[in-house]
């Protein structure tokens, strides 16, 4: 039953799902690293990105790639706006206050969407060519699958280069490690936080578009579960550390696909329970996540 082709197929599916989790997790981890804020509204920006994509796709906007890039840019600015209106006034507030605020922001965005576009799921249909299946050595994947992986890797590579080499990128890593010391260096934290929200929301919008394309549907609550799972991915990898979010995202994607793909079908309904059990298990062994700083390192 587990032929090499079957295994290869599962790996492709795992990379696919993992790429999307990784894209979402990066934004969560960047924001957490800087503000210790668990941003529950992150998944809702993913949803907004998907809706905006739907709007452009339905209008037969071309070239197709712009139906992805325009939402990314717009949602990037929406992220900045959310930070400015909801989170900045709380700078220095207890973590619980920020957490509850992000739940409120999430509710407001979701319910505003229900009120304006209704909770009715809508079809997200791309031109037929995008879903065309290719078969290589018995393993099949669609153009969309290839696009998902290629685009995710390209975006993550670009982000890595940015964070590694630019002045703002280095400042962001410094601020995530020690906010006080970063301020003493003359780094304007508000600016760094703004950039983090912009980049993170942009990646969430990209993930939203890809997610909607994969499942061919959008609805106002579609961001909740991917957001939550991406949070799990960020924690598994070591929250606050960008490579950790990527690692956690892929690990989670693989785990989920393998769980469904290699265990008897009767278990597949428990895949989310399995995901969260995996989180507990990893945290028992590595309380700060796989790549996370140990508590002593974190002054």
């Amino acid at each position: 039953m587990f032929t090499p082709t079957y295994v290869a197929q599962q790996i492709i599916n795992g990379v696919n799902l993992g790429s999307m989790y990784a894209l979402i997790a990066i934004g969560l981890t960047m924001v957490y690293g800087l503000l210790r804020l668990i941003n529950f509204a992150h998944g809702d920006l993913l949803m907004l990105g998907a809706y905006l994509g739907l709007l452009l796709v339905s209008a037969a906007f071309t070239p197709l790639i712009l139906t992805l890039f325009i939402p990314m840019l717009v949602i990037g600015f929406v992220g900045i706006l959310v930070e400015r209106l909801a989170y900045r006034p709380l700078r220095g507030a207890p973590e619980v206050t920020m957490l509850i605020t992000s739940l409120a922001v999430s509710s407001i965005i979701e319910n505003s969407m229900v009120m304006t576009v209704t909770a009715q799921p809508r079809a997200f249909n791309l031109p037929a060519g995008v879903n065309q299946l290719h078969t290589v050595a018995g393993v099949s994947f669609s153009t969309l699958d290839a696009l998902t992986v290629g685009l995710s890797v390209a975006l993550m590579a670009a982000l890595t280069l940015y964070v590694r080499n630019t002045r703002t990128g280095i400042a962001m890593r410094a601020a995530a490690e020690n906010l006080r010391a970063a301020r003493l260096m003359g780094i304007d934290i508000n600016r760094v936080v703004m950039v983090a929200f912009f980049l993170g929301s942009m990646l969430a919008a990209a993930a939203g578009w890809l997610w909607a394309a994969k499942y061919s549907t959008v609805e106002p609550f579609m961001g909740f579960l991917p957001g939550l799972k991406a949070f799990v991915a960020a924690v598994i990898g070591g929250i606050g550390v960008i490579p950790g979010a990527v690692l956690g995202g892929y690990l989670l994607g693989f785990a989920e696909i393998f769980f469904v793909g290699f265990l008897p079908p009767a278990y597949s309904g428990y895949r989310d329970a399995f995901v969260f059990a995996l989180l507990l298990l990893i945290l028992l062994i590595r309380p700060n996540g796989i790549l996370g700083a140990s508590t002593e390192e974190r002054a």
Binding site: R167, E177, R180, E297, A299
Partner: protein, 234 residues
């Protein structure tokens, strides 16, 4: 260069600094000495815009900076090398140094200062692509001082640069402090090793439970019986 007027810093209900006034003139090396909890670190943090100031004023070059955020104070030429060093352990030595020059736009000058820091502390040059977290305590202190110098500061504030270091390294760090002083950098030094601080400083303030207890030229204070008894254990 910097003047602190009747400064009170309070964390919640606890006053860490109570009505402190002090001044550091252009090119001076001034030290704050006193026991733990005397308010030395809080005073430096207040100058940097990092402490909750309840009352009083801070004036840098004739301009009041009391309510300015830290990055605006750095922009006015203040560099703060904090207690406990606070180097960025997940960044390389060179990245740490570059962050010290975060606000500078003159890349040629930054390159020049990078070379200068490496000349002052050759150990840092050897380890420039290493993560700062892997350095020894002494090397981290050198990095913290070098990082502060990278902003080409007009006022350099050093908080406990000798804390927890081997005597040989302390000697090396203090000779660098003296060298910087001779080059004309204005320095405000907080130090628990009162003897060492008074030896290199021009003037000193003795802080006790958040207040200035004594002030004067370092040469005089080093012979003051009260200072000798309380801080020089003689």
């Amino acid at each position: 260069m910097v003047r602190v007027e009747d400064l009170t810093v309070a964390y919640g209900g606890i006053e860490a600094v109570r009505g402190v006034s002090l001044e550091v003139g252009e090119g001076e090396l001034v030290t704050l000495i006193g026991n733990n909890g005397a308010g030395k670190t809080s005073t430096l943090m207040a100058i940097s815009g990092m402490a909750p100031i309840r009352s009083g004023r801070i004036v840098i070059d004739g301009e009041e900076t009391t309510k300015l955020p830290p990055h605006a104070i750095v922009a006015r030429g203040v560099a703060h090398c904090p207690e406990g060093r606070l180097v960025f352990g997940r960044l390389t030595v060179q990245e740490n140094l570059r962050l010290g020059a975060y606000q500078r736009k003159d890349s040629a000058g930054v390159k020049q200062d990078l070379d200068r820091v490496y000349a002052l502390f050759p150990r840092l040059l050897e380890r420039r692509s290493q993560l700062a977290g892997t350095l020894s305590g002494g090397e981290q202190q050198m990095l913290a001082i070098g990082r502060a110098l990278m902003s080409r500061p007009r006022l350099l504030m050093l908080d406990e640069p000798s804390l927890g270091l081997a005597p040989l390294i302390v000697q090396r760090i203090f000779s660098v402090i003296q060298q910087l002083h001779e080059e004309g950098v204005t320095i405000l030094l907080v130090e628990q090793n009162a003897h060492l601080a008074l030896t290199v400083a021009d003037r000193a303030y003795v802080l006790e439970t958040g207040e200035v207890r004594l002030a004067g030229p370092a040469k005089q204070l080093i012979d003051n019986p009260e200072v000798r008894k309380a801080y020089l254990s003689q």
